[in-house]
Amino acid sequence: MIKILFFARLQEEIGKDSLNIEKAGLTVNQLKQWLEKEHGLHSLDQTMAAVNEDYADGSEVLKEGDTVALIPPVSGG
């Protein structure tokens, strides 16, 4: 099982702050594409990601038990 944590607008778009899915073996980028298709999330290509609290790039492969945080950039100041 993979746990996904959503921050900021993603939380509102998907209506919850986390999601558990059976998707070990996907890369971070593939996970984003899957979320766009299956859960209607938008523009995840610019969303940052962390796996188990380590900043991760799109090619990182997800393992069973990983926690993925998806972080959309915010710009306000």
Binding site: L5, F7, A8, R9, Q11, D17, S43, Q46, M48, A50, E53, D54, Y55, A69, I71, P72, P73, V74, S75, G76, G77
Partner: protein
């Protein structure tokens, strides 16, 4: 006996020695919006030696709910933020040297300011300027403390040249769309939280305690009380164009300002003439009065037309509020302000 900084000196992370160091340091705060206001106030109250603050805007009513240096009088008189900020900051602490500039920050005019600073606090509201800060931070080896928010969510990171990844390592391109106060709103507690993390890191840098810095990308949501610290150890790229071995500082390549520059956003178009010019506000005012209500101070002249508003800055810039259409904005600019020029 109680002295001005006695409670701060009593905190073991600062101490009397830290207080002394703080009073010798120079902070550059880029932007005097919500984050810039909050961070500048904290650092001036804390007793930093010199603080430079720059901003291109003037105070508007919609700023007041989150920008803590400003009052209704500042909004009413369209005071430039940098000037209003300086006035409030000096009434809080006259021992800090406060330098304020009404300035549209760009690579060329920031260059000198960053060189003189011990740390740069990000109080900007867009990634274009943050990528410029990032390159300048690398070039002059001045740390900068990123902060940004939208809604109730914020993030912060402390960029240390040669030691941490840089912004370009983390985000390989400028985000083309990001959540901002214009798209997601903002509540003041999210501002205070972001600023609190930025100024805490600044206090460590300004008291020469680099070893105490957080070293993680911090995310937080004050409405849901979420917080996450993300390690960035593997992120630094040796071929990064901003901090790598063969760096080119891509955001410092100065655009040649040979033509009218037009920026859009927030139902506003900004026009900057090719060369710096000074307006005769009196002449301009008496002419514009025939077309709409005119208010002015020594920094800015504002003319309210039927469906939009012109804000003309002494440094040459013109903001046309109330439209997103470049052609319409250019038309107004040429009709009312720069009649003689192309």
């Amino acid at each position: 006996m109680d002295t001005r900084y006695s409670r701060q000196e009593l905190f073991s992370g600062i101490g009397k020695e830290g207080q002394k160091r703080l009073q010798e340091k120079h902070v550059l705060v880029l932007g005097a919006g919500a984050l810039g206001s909050a961070s500048a106030e904290t650092l001036v109250r804390a007793g930093v030696g010199t603080l430079t603050i720059i901003d291109r805007d003037f105070v508007e009513w919609s700023n007041l709910h989150r920008q803590q240096l400003y009052t209704e009088a500042d909004a009413e008189h369209n005071h430039p933020k940098a000037i209003a900020a300086k006035n409030r900051l000096q009434s809080i602490n006259k021992d800090t040297t406060v330098k304020a500039y009404v300035l549209d920050a760009k690579a060329d005019n920031l260059e000198k300011l960053v060189q003189g600073a011990d740390v740069v606090i990000d109080g900007s509201d867009n990634f274009d300027i943050r990528f410029i800060i990032n390159d300048l931070s690398q070039k002059y080896r001045v740390p900068w403390i990123f902060g940004a928010f939208a809604g109730s969510f914020g993030m912060s990171y402390t960029f240390l040249p040669e030691k941490t990844p840089c912004l370009q390592c983390i985000l390989s391109t400028i985000p083309s769309s990001s959540m901002s106060c214009e798209t997601s709103g903002i509540i003041a507690p999210a501002v205070q939280m972001t600023s609190a993390h930025q100024t805490t890191e600044a206090l460590k840098i300004l008291t020469d305690q680099e070893e105490s810095l957080r070293r993680t990308l911090l995310l937080f949501d004050v409405w849901n009380t979420q917080q996450q610290s993300i390690r960035t150890d593997k992120v630094k790229k040796t071929d990064c164009p901003s901090c790598g071995k063969e760096r080119t500082y891509p955001y410092l390549v100065h655009e040649q300002d040979t033509r009218l520059e037009v920026l859009c956003g927030r139902n506003t178009v900004q026009i900057r003439p090719p060369e710096k010019k000074e307006y005769d506000f009196n002449a301009l005012a008496s002419e514009l009065k025939q077309h709409g209500n005119v208010r002015k101070n020594s920094y800015i002249l504002i003319c309210t037309l039927s469906d939009c508003r012109l804000a003309i800055f002494q440094d040459g810039r013109v903001l046309i509020h109330g439209t997103k259409e470049i052609d319409k904005a250019k038309h107004l600019y040429h009709r009312f302000i720069a009649k003689e020029k192309e």
